[in-house]
Protein backbone atom coordinates (compact mmCIF):
# COMPACT_ATOMS: atom_id res chain seq x y z
CA UNK A 1 0.00 0.00 0.00
CA UNK A 2 1.32 3.41 -0.99
CA UNK A 3 0.27 6.90 0.11
CA UNK A 4 1.49 10.24 -1.18
CA UNK A 5 0.27 13.66 -0.22
CA UNK A 6 0.97 17.05 1.28
CA UNK A 7 1.67 17.17 4.97
CA UNK A 8 -0.10 18.96 7.82
CA UNK A 9 2.20 19.00 10.81
CA UNK A 10 0.97 18.86 14.43
CA UNK A 11 2.72 18.85 17.81
CA UNK A 12 2.83 16.43 20.78
CA UNK A 13 -0.24 15.29 22.71
CA UNK A 14 -2.88 16.14 20.09
CA UNK A 15 -5.87 14.82 22.02
CA UNK A 16 -9.30 13.54 21.07
CA UNK A 17 -11.08 16.68 22.34
CA UNK A 18 -9.01 18.61 19.82
CA UNK A 19 -9.40 16.05 17.01
CA UNK A 20 -13.21 16.17 17.35
CA UNK A 21 -14.81 18.25 20.16
CA UNK A 22 -17.62 16.62 22.16
CA UNK A 23 -20.20 19.05 20.85
CA UNK A 24 -20.06 17.11 17.56
CA UNK A 25 -20.43 13.68 19.16
CA UNK A 26 -24.20 13.62 18.97
CA UNK A 27 -23.83 12.70 15.29
CA UNK A 28 -22.15 10.00 13.20
CA UNK A 29 -22.68 11.94 9.94
CA UNK A 30 -19.39 11.73 8.00
CA UNK A 31 -19.87 15.21 6.55
CA UNK A 32 -20.11 16.78 10.02
CA UNK A 33 -17.30 14.75 11.57
CA UNK A 34 -14.97 15.50 8.66
CA UNK A 35 -15.85 19.20 8.55
CA UNK A 36 -15.00 19.81 12.20
CA UNK A 37 -11.81 17.78 12.44
CA UNK A 38 -9.27 19.70 14.60
CA UNK A 39 -11.74 22.59 14.84
CA UNK A 40 -10.57 24.01 18.19
CA UNK A 41 -6.87 24.03 17.36
CA UNK A 42 -7.03 24.78 13.61
CA UNK A 43 -10.42 26.27 12.78
CA UNK A 44 -11.48 25.31 9.26
CA UNK A 45 -8.95 22.47 8.98
CA UNK A 46 -11.56 19.81 8.23
CA UNK A 47 -13.24 21.92 5.55
CA UNK A 48 -10.00 22.86 3.77
CA UNK A 49 -7.87 19.69 4.10
CA UNK A 50 -6.71 18.39 0.72
CA UNK A 51 -8.01 14.90 -0.13
CA UNK A 52 -5.23 12.35 0.21
CA UNK A 53 -3.09 14.53 2.46
CA UNK A 54 -1.12 13.21 5.42
CA UNK A 55 -1.00 14.28 9.06
CA UNK A 56 2.42 14.11 10.74
CA UNK A 57 2.45 14.59 14.51
CA UNK A 58 4.64 14.20 17.59
CA UNK A 59 4.25 12.03 20.68
CA UNK A 60 1.07 10.53 22.06
CA UNK A 61 -1.20 11.39 19.11
CA UNK A 62 -4.87 10.81 19.86
CA UNK A 63 -4.55 10.76 23.65
CA UNK A 64 -7.67 11.11 25.74
CA UNK A 65 -11.05 9.63 24.94
CA UNK A 66 -11.89 6.31 23.26
CA UNK A 67 -14.18 8.09 20.81
CA UNK A 68 -13.94 6.30 17.45
CA UNK A 69 -15.22 9.59 16.03
CA UNK A 70 -11.62 10.81 16.30
CA UNK A 71 -9.99 8.57 13.64
CA UNK A 72 -13.30 8.67 11.71
CA UNK A 73 -13.22 12.47 11.56
CA UNK A 74 -9.65 12.35 10.26
CA UNK A 75 -10.67 9.77 7.64
CA UNK A 76 -13.75 11.78 6.62
CA UNK A 77 -11.69 14.96 6.35
CA UNK A 78 -9.89 13.20 3.51
CA UNK A 79 -6.63 12.41 5.30
CA UNK A 80 -5.04 9.29 3.79
CA UNK A 81 -2.65 8.38 6.59
CA UNK A 82 -1.43 9.56 10.00
CA UNK A 83 2.26 9.46 10.93
CA UNK A 84 3.23 10.13 14.54
CA UNK A 85 6.22 9.68 16.83
CA UNK A 86 3.88 7.61 18.99
CA UNK A 87 0.16 6.96 19.28
CA UNK A 88 -2.08 6.80 22.32
CA UNK A 89 -3.24 3.21 22.58
CA UNK A 90 -7.01 3.54 22.16
CA UNK A 91 -6.60 5.83 19.14
CA UNK A 92 -4.08 3.32 17.75
CA UNK A 93 -6.47 0.39 17.96
CA UNK A 94 -9.41 2.46 16.71
CA UNK A 95 -7.44 3.57 13.64
CA UNK A 96 -6.48 -0.03 12.86
CA UNK A 97 -10.04 -1.23 13.49
CA UNK A 98 -11.56 1.27 11.03
CA UNK A 99 -8.83 0.73 8.45
CA UNK A 100 -7.17 4.18 8.80
CA UNK A 101 -3.47 3.65 7.95
CA UNK A 102 -1.09 4.80 10.66
CA UNK A 103 2.71 4.80 10.84
CA UNK A 104 5.03 5.29 13.81
CA UNK A 105 8.17 7.28 12.95
CA UNK A 106 10.24 9.76 14.90
CA UNK A 107 12.54 10.31 11.91
CA UNK A 108 9.78 11.52 9.62
CA UNK A 109 8.47 13.89 12.31
CA UNK A 110 11.90 15.39 12.96
CA UNK A 111 12.71 16.02 9.29
CA UNK A 112 9.39 17.12 7.86
CA UNK A 113 7.77 20.54 7.54
CA UNK A 114 4.21 21.67 6.99
CA UNK A 115 3.45 21.63 3.27
CA UNK A 116 6.13 19.07 2.31
CA UNK A 117 5.13 16.11 0.15
CA UNK A 118 5.45 12.75 1.88
CA UNK A 119 5.35 9.39 0.13
CA UNK A 120 4.88 6.24 2.20
CA UNK A 121 5.31 2.70 0.93
CA UNK A 122 4.05 0.32 3.62
CA UNK A 123 4.98 -2.82 1.65
CA UNK A 124 8.58 -1.68 1.18
CA UNK A 125 8.72 -0.21 4.68
CA UNK A 126 10.06 3.09 3.34
CA UNK A 127 9.05 6.77 3.33
CA UNK A 128 10.39 9.71 1.30
CA UNK A 129 10.08 13.44 2.04
CA UNK A 130 9.89 15.39 -1.24
CA UNK A 131 12.83 14.19 -3.32
CA UNK A 132 14.92 13.19 -0.32
CA UNK A 133 16.53 9.89 0.66
CA UNK A 134 14.40 7.00 1.92
CA UNK A 135 13.54 6.71 5.61
CA UNK A 136 12.98 3.21 6.98
CA UNK A 137 9.65 2.61 8.72
CA UNK A 138 8.96 -0.41 10.90
CA UNK A 139 6.03 -2.62 9.86
CA UNK A 140 3.23 -3.52 12.27
CA UNK A 141 2.67 -7.10 13.39
CA UNK A 142 1.28 -9.23 10.58
CA UNK A 143 -2.24 -9.59 11.91
CA UNK A 144 -2.55 -5.80 12.25
CA UNK A 145 -1.41 -5.31 8.67
CA UNK A 146 -4.06 -7.84 7.63
CA UNK A 147 -6.74 -5.94 9.55
CA UNK A 148 -5.84 -2.71 7.72
CA UNK A 149 -5.74 -4.53 4.37
CA UNK A 150 -9.21 -6.03 4.96
CA UNK A 151 -10.50 -2.54 5.73
CA UNK A 152 -10.91 -2.98 9.47
CA UNK A 153 -11.55 -5.36 12.39
CA UNK A 154 -15.05 -6.46 11.42
CA UNK A 155 -14.27 -7.39 7.79
CA UNK A 156 -11.20 -9.24 9.11
CA UNK A 157 -13.19 -11.02 11.86
CA UNK A 158 -15.90 -12.10 9.47
CA UNK A 159 -13.41 -13.31 6.88
CA UNK A 160 -11.56 -15.40 9.46
CA UNK A 161 -14.87 -16.79 10.77
CA UNK A 162 -15.89 -17.76 7.26
CA UNK A 163 -12.44 -19.28 6.72
CA UNK A 164 -12.77 -21.24 9.97
CA UNK A 165 -16.23 -22.43 9.03
CA UNK A 166 -14.85 -23.67 5.73
CA UNK A 167 -12.02 -25.55 7.43
CA UNK A 168 -14.45 -27.24 9.76
CA UNK A 169 -16.69 -28.50 6.96
Amino acid sequence: MKYSGIVYKFADNVNTDEIIPARYLNTTDPAVLGRYCMEDIRPGFGAKAVKGSIIVAGDNFGCGSSREHAPLSIKYAGIACVVAVSFARIFFRNAINIGLPIVESREIYEHINEGDTLTIDLDQGKAVIGAGSPITIAPFPLFMQKIIEEGGWLPYLLKSRTAQAERLK
Partner: protein
Protein backbone atom coordinates in the same frame (compact mmCIF):
# COMPACT_ATOMS: atom_id res chain seq x y z
CA UNK B 1 9.32 -16.39 36.00
CA UNK B 2 6.56 -14.72 37.97
CA UNK B 3 3.72 -12.66 36.59
CA UNK B 4 2.35 -9.27 37.53
CA UNK B 5 -1.31 -9.02 38.49
CA UNK B 6 -2.33 -7.91 34.98
CA UNK B 7 -0.39 -10.74 33.32
CA UNK B 8 -2.00 -13.24 35.72
CA UNK B 9 -5.56 -12.11 35.08
CA UNK B 10 -5.05 -12.17 31.30
CA UNK B 11 -3.24 -15.53 31.35
CA UNK B 12 -6.09 -17.11 33.25
CA UNK B 13 -8.63 -15.71 30.78
CA UNK B 14 -6.52 -16.81 27.82
CA UNK B 15 -6.28 -20.29 29.32
CA UNK B 16 -2.46 -20.34 29.37
CA UNK B 17 0.00 -20.96 32.16
CA UNK B 18 2.09 -17.89 31.44
CA UNK B 19 2.02 -14.63 29.50
CA UNK B 20 4.74 -12.07 28.88
CA UNK B 21 4.46 -8.44 27.83
CA UNK B 22 3.99 -7.63 24.13
CA UNK B 23 2.32 -10.94 23.32
CA UNK B 24 -0.91 -10.66 21.33
CA UNK B 25 -3.88 -12.62 22.58
CA UNK B 26 -7.46 -13.16 21.48
CA UNK B 27 -9.74 -13.66 24.48
CA UNK B 28 -13.37 -13.69 25.51
CA UNK B 29 -13.97 -10.79 27.89
CA UNK B 30 -16.51 -11.30 30.67
CA UNK B 31 -18.26 -7.98 30.16
CA UNK B 32 -18.52 -5.31 27.49
CA UNK B 33 -20.02 -1.86 27.81
CA UNK B 34 -20.77 1.18 25.70
CA UNK B 35 -22.55 4.50 26.25
CA UNK B 36 -24.85 6.84 24.33
CA UNK B 37 -21.94 8.30 22.37
CA UNK B 38 -20.07 5.13 21.52
CA UNK B 39 -22.90 2.57 21.23
CA UNK B 40 -24.58 4.15 18.17
CA UNK B 41 -21.48 3.41 16.09
CA UNK B 42 -21.28 -0.08 17.61
CA UNK B 43 -24.90 -0.79 16.69
CA UNK B 44 -24.50 0.60 13.16
CA UNK B 45 -21.37 -1.47 12.55
CA UNK B 46 -22.99 -4.62 13.97
CA UNK B 47 -26.00 -4.22 11.71
CA UNK B 48 -23.98 -3.15 8.65
CA UNK B 49 -22.15 -6.49 8.56
CA UNK B 50 -25.44 -8.34 8.96
CA UNK B 51 -25.27 -9.02 12.70
CA UNK B 52 -28.46 -10.77 13.75
CA UNK B 53 -27.81 -12.31 17.15
CA UNK B 54 -25.73 -10.90 20.01
CA UNK B 55 -23.25 -13.50 21.20
CA UNK B 56 -23.79 -13.27 24.96
CA UNK B 57 -26.34 -10.52 25.56
CA UNK B 58 -26.25 -10.86 29.38
CA UNK B 59 -22.61 -9.70 29.26
CA UNK B 60 -23.41 -6.50 27.36
CA UNK B 61 -24.19 -3.24 29.17
CA UNK B 62 -25.50 -0.18 27.32
CA UNK B 63 -25.35 2.82 29.67
CA UNK B 64 -26.64 6.13 28.30
CA UNK B 65 -24.85 8.57 30.61
CA UNK B 66 -22.96 11.16 28.57
CA UNK B 67 -25.63 13.39 27.00
CA UNK B 68 -28.57 12.38 29.22
CA UNK B 69 -31.18 13.42 30.18
CA UNK B 70 -31.26 13.87 26.43
CA UNK B 71 -29.63 17.17 25.65
CA UNK B 72 -30.99 17.69 22.11
CA UNK B 73 -32.81 15.90 19.29
CA UNK B 74 -29.73 14.12 17.91
CA UNK B 75 -28.85 12.81 21.36
CA UNK B 76 -32.45 11.72 21.88
CA UNK B 77 -32.28 9.73 18.64
CA UNK B 78 -29.10 8.03 19.84
CA UNK B 79 -30.73 7.19 23.17
CA UNK B 80 -33.63 5.69 21.31
CA UNK B 81 -31.26 3.59 19.18
CA UNK B 82 -29.71 2.03 22.30
CA UNK B 83 -33.12 1.41 23.86
CA UNK B 84 -34.50 -0.26 20.73
CA UNK B 85 -31.41 -2.41 20.29
CA UNK B 86 -31.75 -3.71 23.86
CA UNK B 87 -35.45 -4.41 23.28
CA UNK B 88 -34.68 -6.48 20.19
CA UNK B 89 -31.71 -8.31 21.71
CA UNK B 90 -33.22 -9.62 24.91
CA UNK B 91 -30.75 -9.90 27.75
CA UNK B 92 -28.65 -6.86 26.79
CA UNK B 93 -28.67 -4.52 29.79
CA UNK B 94 -30.08 -1.06 29.16
CA UNK B 95 -30.65 1.56 31.83
CA UNK B 96 -33.57 3.95 31.51
CA UNK B 97 -33.65 7.44 33.07
CA UNK B 98 -34.27 6.93 36.76
CA UNK B 99 -31.95 3.91 36.83
CA UNK B 100 -29.04 5.10 34.74
CA UNK B 101 -26.00 6.67 36.27
CA UNK B 102 -22.46 7.44 35.21
CA UNK B 103 -21.32 4.05 33.85
CA UNK B 104 -18.14 3.63 35.91
CA UNK B 105 -19.98 4.43 39.13
CA UNK B 106 -23.06 2.39 38.24
CA UNK B 107 -21.54 -0.93 37.23
CA UNK B 108 -19.56 -1.55 40.45
CA UNK B 109 -22.56 -0.37 42.46
CA UNK B 110 -24.86 -3.01 40.96
CA UNK B 111 -22.32 -5.79 41.49
CA UNK B 112 -21.51 -6.26 37.81
CA UNK B 113 -17.76 -6.09 38.45
CA UNK B 114 -15.76 -8.71 40.38
CA UNK B 115 -12.07 -9.42 40.94
CA UNK B 116 -10.43 -11.42 38.16
CA UNK B 117 -12.86 -10.35 35.44
CA UNK B 118 -11.71 -9.10 32.02
CA UNK B 119 -13.74 -6.09 30.97
CA UNK B 120 -13.71 -4.02 27.79
CA UNK B 121 -15.65 -0.81 27.36
CA UNK B 122 -16.14 1.75 24.62
CA UNK B 123 -15.13 4.49 27.02
CA UNK B 124 -11.59 5.46 28.01
CA UNK B 125 -12.35 5.46 31.74
CA UNK B 126 -13.28 1.77 31.69
CA UNK B 127 -9.95 1.35 33.47
CA UNK B 128 -11.85 2.35 36.66
CA UNK B 129 -12.79 -1.29 37.44
CA UNK B 130 -9.16 -2.16 38.08
CA UNK B 131 -9.91 -0.86 41.57
CA UNK B 132 -11.80 -4.11 42.18
CA UNK B 133 -8.95 -6.31 40.94
CA UNK B 134 -10.32 -6.76 37.43
CA UNK B 135 -8.45 -6.26 34.15
CA UNK B 136 -10.41 -3.47 32.55
CA UNK B 137 -9.57 -1.35 29.55
CA UNK B 138 -11.05 1.20 27.15
CA UNK B 139 -11.54 0.16 23.53
CA UNK B 140 -13.44 1.50 20.52
CA UNK B 141 -17.00 1.14 19.27
CA UNK B 142 -15.88 -1.34 16.60
CA UNK B 143 -14.20 -3.53 19.22
CA UNK B 144 -17.55 -3.78 21.00
CA UNK B 145 -19.30 -4.58 17.70
CA UNK B 146 -16.79 -7.40 17.26
CA UNK B 147 -17.67 -8.60 20.77
CA UNK B 148 -21.40 -8.54 19.98
CA UNK B 149 -20.70 -10.69 16.91
CA UNK B 150 -18.20 -13.18 18.32
CA UNK B 151 -17.65 -12.60 22.04
CA UNK B 152 -13.97 -12.02 21.26
CA UNK B 153 -11.46 -9.19 21.50
CA UNK B 154 -7.77 -8.83 20.62
CA UNK B 155 -5.35 -7.45 23.17
CA UNK B 156 -1.63 -6.91 23.50
CA UNK B 157 -0.29 -7.88 26.94
CA UNK B 158 1.02 -4.68 28.51
CA UNK B 159 4.24 -4.41 30.53
CA UNK B 160 3.53 -3.28 34.10
CA UNK B 161 4.68 -0.21 35.98
CA UNK B 162 4.56 -0.70 39.71
CA UNK B 163 3.37 2.47 41.45
CA UNK B 164 4.17 2.49 45.18
CA UNK B 165 2.69 5.14 47.46
CA UNK B 166 4.43 5.67 50.80
CA UNK B 167 4.38 8.15 53.64
CA UNK B 168 1.42 9.83 55.28
CA UNK B 169 -1.10 12.06 53.48
CA UNK B 170 -1.33 15.65 54.69
CA UNK B 171 -4.58 17.35 55.78
CA UNK B 172 -7.39 17.18 53.22
CA UNK B 173 -5.40 15.01 50.82
CA UNK B 174 -7.25 12.17 49.14
CA UNK B 175 -7.07 9.57 46.38
CA UNK B 176 -7.44 12.29 43.72
CA UNK B 177 -4.27 13.96 44.94
CA UNK B 178 -2.41 10.64 44.82
CA UNK B 179 -3.26 9.97 41.18
CA UNK B 180 -2.61 13.59 40.17
CA UNK B 181 0.79 13.43 41.85
CA UNK B 182 1.52 10.22 39.95
CA UNK B 183 0.53 11.70 36.58
CA UNK B 184 2.46 14.85 37.42
CA UNK B 185 5.52 12.68 38.05
CA UNK B 186 5.47 10.42 34.98
CA UNK B 187 3.61 12.61 32.50
CA UNK B 188 0.57 12.07 30.26
CA UNK B 189 2.42 9.51 28.16
CA UNK B 190 4.62 8.14 30.93
CA UNK B 191 2.56 4.95 31.14
CA UNK B 192 1.78 4.69 27.42
CA UNK B 193 0.63 1.11 26.64
CA UNK B 194 1.49 -0.01 30.17
CA UNK B 195 -0.45 -1.52 33.02
CA UNK B 196 -0.17 0.35 36.30
CA UNK B 197 -0.20 -1.80 39.42
CA UNK B 198 -1.00 0.44 42.40
CA UNK B 199 0.44 -0.58 45.76
CA UNK B 200 1.92 0.66 49.02
CA UNK B 201 0.61 1.39 52.51
CA UNK B 202 -1.12 4.60 51.44
CA UNK B 203 -3.32 2.87 48.86
CA UNK B 204 -3.94 -0.09 51.17
CA UNK B 205 -5.51 2.47 53.47
CA UNK B 206 -7.81 3.85 50.78
CA UNK B 207 -11.46 2.93 50.57
CA UNK B 208 -12.70 1.10 47.46
CA UNK B 209 -14.17 4.43 46.23
CA UNK B 210 -10.76 6.03 46.61
CA UNK B 211 -9.15 3.26 44.60
CA UNK B 212 -11.77 3.79 41.87
CA UNK B 213 -10.76 7.45 41.69
CA UNK B 214 -7.15 6.40 41.12
CA UNK B 215 -7.78 3.56 38.66
CA UNK B 216 -10.13 5.88 36.76
CA UNK B 217 -7.27 8.20 35.82
CA UNK B 218 -4.76 5.53 34.76
CA UNK B 219 -5.67 6.44 31.16
CA UNK B 220 -4.55 10.03 31.79
CA UNK B 221 -0.99 8.73 32.08
CA UNK B 222 -1.52 6.84 28.81
CA UNK B 223 -1.99 3.48 30.53
CA UNK B 224 -3.91 0.53 29.17
CA UNK B 225 -5.22 -0.36 32.64
CA UNK B 226 -4.69 0.43 36.29
CA UNK B 227 -5.13 -2.34 38.85
CA UNK B 228 -5.20 -2.90 42.61
CA UNK B 229 -4.94 -6.24 44.41
CA UNK B 230 -8.47 -7.02 45.61
CA UNK B 231 -8.51 -7.38 49.40
CA UNK B 232 -11.03 -7.69 52.24
CA UNK B 233 -12.22 -4.12 51.58
CA UNK B 234 -13.28 -5.22 48.10
CA UNK B 235 -14.92 -8.31 49.57
CA UNK B 236 -16.87 -6.11 51.99
CA UNK B 237 -17.83 -3.74 49.17
CA UNK B 238 -19.21 -6.61 47.08
CA UNK B 239 -21.24 -8.10 49.93
CA UNK B 240 -24.89 -7.48 49.20
CA UNK B 241 -24.18 -6.38 45.64
CA UNK B 242 -23.52 -9.78 44.08
CA UNK B 243 -23.71 -13.42 45.10
CA UNK B 244 -21.06 -14.44 42.58
CA UNK B 245 -17.53 -15.03 43.82
CA UNK B 246 -14.60 -13.19 42.32
CA UNK B 247 -11.10 -14.41 41.60
CA UNK B 248 -8.79 -12.81 44.15
CA UNK B 249 -5.49 -13.04 42.27
CA UNK B 250 -2.20 -11.58 43.48
CA UNK B 251 1.05 -10.75 41.66
CA UNK B 252 3.90 -13.27 42.08
CA UNK B 253 6.74 -12.33 44.41
CA UNK B 254 9.16 -12.66 41.46
CA UNK B 255 6.97 -10.75 39.00
CA UNK B 256 8.93 -8.60 36.55
CA UNK B 257 8.00 -4.93 36.42
CA UNK B 258 9.24 -2.66 33.67
CA UNK B 259 9.59 0.20 36.10
CA UNK B 260 8.91 1.00 39.76
CA UNK B 261 7.75 4.52 40.62
CA UNK B 262 7.70 5.48 44.30
CA UNK B 263 5.61 8.46 45.39
CA UNK B 264 6.25 9.57 48.97
CA UNK B 265 3.37 11.77 50.04
CA UNK B 266 4.87 12.93 53.35
CA UNK B 267 4.87 16.71 53.53
CA UNK B 268 2.65 17.10 50.47
CA UNK B 269 -0.59 19.03 50.33
CA UNK B 270 -3.67 18.94 48.05
CA UNK B 271 -2.85 19.54 44.40
CA UNK B 272 -4.45 20.89 41.23
CA UNK B 273 -3.74 20.09 37.58
CA UNK B 274 -3.46 23.41 35.80
CA UNK B 275 -4.65 23.76 32.17
CA UNK B 276 -4.28 22.14 29.67
CA UNK B 277 -2.83 18.73 30.63
CA UNK B 278 -3.49 16.46 33.64
CA UNK B 279 0.28 16.34 34.24
CA UNK B 280 0.47 20.07 35.02
CA UNK B 281 0.25 19.42 38.75
CA UNK B 282 1.00 22.03 41.42
CA UNK B 283 -0.06 22.58 45.04
CA UNK B 284 -3.51 24.13 45.40
CA UNK B 285 -2.07 26.74 47.70
CA UNK B 286 -0.19 28.23 44.75
CA UNK B 287 -3.48 29.10 43.05
CA UNK B 288 -4.73 31.85 45.31
CA UNK B 289 -4.67 34.45 42.57
CA UNK B 290 -6.66 32.36 40.08
CA UNK B 291 -10.28 33.56 39.96
CA UNK B 292 -12.75 30.77 39.25
CA UNK B 293 -16.19 31.01 37.61
CA UNK B 294 -17.47 27.46 37.97
CA UNK B 295 -16.90 24.42 40.17
CA UNK B 296 -18.00 20.91 39.18
CA UNK B 297 -18.16 18.15 41.78
CA UNK B 298 -19.07 14.84 40.15
CA UNK B 299 -18.10 12.39 37.37
CA UNK B 300 -16.83 8.82 37.21
CA UNK B 301 -13.71 10.12 38.96
CA UNK B 302 -15.23 11.81 42.00
CA UNK B 303 -19.05 11.60 41.97
CA UNK B 304 -19.57 8.96 44.66
CA UNK B 305 -21.01 9.30 48.16
CA UNK B 306 -17.67 9.78 49.94
CA UNK B 307 -16.84 12.61 47.52
CA UNK B 308 -20.17 14.31 48.19
CA UNK B 309 -19.71 13.90 51.97
CA UNK B 310 -16.33 15.62 51.74
CA UNK B 311 -17.83 18.47 49.73
CA UNK B 312 -20.66 18.80 52.26
CA UNK B 313 -18.20 18.91 55.14
CA UNK B 314 -16.62 21.99 53.63
CA UNK B 315 -19.77 23.66 52.32
CA UNK B 316 -21.70 23.22 55.59
CA UNK B 317 -22.79 26.57 56.95
CA UNK B 318 -21.10 28.35 54.06
CA UNK B 319 -22.22 29.90 50.83
CA UNK B 320 -20.79 29.57 47.34
CA UNK B 321 -18.99 32.78 46.24
CA UNK B 322 -21.56 35.10 44.65
CA UNK B 323 -19.87 35.23 41.22
CA UNK B 324 -19.38 31.48 41.02
CA UNK B 325 -21.57 28.50 39.90
CA UNK B 326 -21.13 25.28 41.89
CA UNK B 327 -22.57 22.22 40.16
CA UNK B 328 -22.87 19.01 42.16
CA UNK B 329 -23.57 15.81 40.24
CA UNK B 330 -24.22 12.60 42.23
CA UNK B 331 -23.03 9.88 39.86
CA UNK B 332 -25.95 7.43 40.22
CA UNK B 333 -29.58 7.49 41.45
CA UNK B 334 -28.55 5.44 44.52
CA UNK B 335 -25.85 7.98 45.39
CA UNK B 336 -28.33 10.80 44.76
CA UNK B 337 -30.83 9.17 47.14
CA UNK B 338 -28.19 8.49 49.76
CA UNK B 339 -26.94 12.09 49.65
CA UNK B 340 -30.50 13.27 50.07
CA UNK B 341 -31.15 10.96 53.02
CA UNK B 342 -27.89 11.98 54.73
CA UNK B 343 -28.93 15.64 54.61
CA UNK B 344 -26.20 16.60 52.14
CA UNK B 345 -28.67 18.21 49.75
CA UNK B 346 -29.80 20.57 52.50
CA UNK B 347 -26.20 21.70 52.88
CA UNK B 348 -25.74 22.07 49.12
CA UNK B 349 -28.98 24.01 48.66
CA UNK B 350 -28.24 26.29 51.62
CA UNK B 351 -24.86 26.95 50.03
CA UNK B 352 -26.58 27.98 46.77
CA UNK B 353 -25.01 25.09 44.88
CA UNK B 354 -26.84 23.41 41.98
CA UNK B 355 -27.75 19.72 42.22
CA UNK B 356 -27.83 17.89 38.89
CA UNK B 357 -29.31 14.52 37.95
CA UNK B 358 -26.69 11.81 37.36
CA UNK B 359 -24.87 12.53 34.11
CA UNK B 360 -21.40 12.98 32.62
CA UNK B 361 -22.64 16.33 31.39
CA UNK B 362 -20.04 19.08 31.71
CA UNK B 363 -17.05 16.74 32.08
CA UNK B 364 -16.74 16.43 28.32
CA UNK B 365 -18.44 19.69 27.37
CA UNK B 366 -21.79 18.02 26.77
CA UNK B 367 -24.33 19.93 28.83
CA UNK B 368 -25.22 20.89 32.43
CA UNK B 369 -22.46 23.45 32.85
CA UNK B 370 -20.59 24.66 29.77
CA UNK B 371 -17.92 27.38 29.89
CA UNK B 372 -17.86 30.64 27.95
CA UNK B 373 -14.65 32.12 26.53
CA UNK B 374 -12.30 33.27 29.28
CA UNK B 375 -14.08 31.29 32.01
CA UNK B 376 -12.30 29.01 34.45
CA UNK B 377 -13.59 25.89 36.19
CA UNK B 378 -12.19 23.83 39.05
CA UNK B 379 -13.50 20.34 38.47
CA UNK B 380 -13.30 16.92 40.09
CA UNK B 381 -13.35 15.39 36.60
CA UNK B 382 -10.41 13.80 34.79
CA UNK B 383 -9.36 15.88 31.76
CA UNK B 384 -8.48 19.52 31.21
CA UNK B 385 -7.61 19.59 27.50
CA UNK B 386 -8.31 22.70 25.39
CA UNK B 387 -12.06 23.13 24.84
CA UNK B 388 -12.95 20.12 26.95
CA UNK B 389 -15.74 21.85 28.90
CA UNK B 390 -16.79 24.53 26.42
CA UNK B 391 -15.15 27.39 24.58
CA UNK B 392 -11.61 26.79 23.33
CA UNK B 393 -10.54 29.83 25.35
CA UNK B 394 -11.83 28.47 28.67
CA UNK B 395 -9.73 26.73 31.32
CA UNK B 396 -10.18 23.65 33.49
CA UNK B 397 -8.29 22.96 36.71
CA UNK B 398 -8.56 19.37 37.95
CA UNK B 399 -8.81 18.80 41.69
CA UNK B 400 -10.26 16.75 44.53
CA UNK B 401 -13.76 17.31 45.95
CA UNK B 402 -12.20 19.02 49.00
CA UNK B 403 -10.28 21.54 46.89
CA UNK B 404 -13.28 22.05 44.61
CA UNK B 405 -15.61 22.76 47.54
CA UNK B 406 -13.16 25.12 49.23
CA UNK B 407 -12.69 26.92 45.90
CA UNK B 408 -16.45 27.25 45.49
CA UNK B 409 -16.60 29.16 48.78
CA UNK B 410 -13.72 31.56 48.22
CA UNK B 411 -14.10 32.00 44.47
CA UNK B 412 -10.41 31.31 43.81
CA UNK B 413 -8.27 28.17 43.93
CA UNK B 414 -8.07 27.25 47.61
CA UNK B 415 -6.35 24.63 49.75
CA UNK B 416 -9.07 23.38 52.15
CA UNK B 417 -6.71 23.82 55.11
CA UNK B 418 -6.95 27.58 54.57
CA UNK B 419 -10.71 27.50 55.04
CA UNK B 420 -11.05 24.74 57.61
CA UNK B 421 -8.70 25.90 60.33
Amino acid sequence: MGMTLTEKILAKKAGVAHLTPHEFIEIEPDLALANDITAPITIDEFEKVGGKKVFRPECVFLVPDHFTPNKDILSAEHYRKLKEFAAVHQGVHFFEQGEVGVEHALLPEIGAVRPGMVIIGADSHTCTYGALGAFSTGVGSTDIAGYLLTGKAWLKVPPTIKAVFTGVMGPWMSAKDLILLFIGTIGVSGAQYKAIEFSGPVVDGLSVEGRMTMANMAIEAGAKNGVFVADDKVEAYLRGRTKEKGDYLTPDKDAVYERVVVIDVTGRSPVVAWPHLPENVRPAREGGNVRIDQVVIGSCTNGRIEDLRTAAQILKGRRVAPHLRCLIIPATPAIYRQALEEGLFQIFLDAHAVISPPTCGPCLGGHMGILAHGERCVSTTNRNFVGRMGHRDSEIYLASPAVAAATAVTGRITDPAELMK
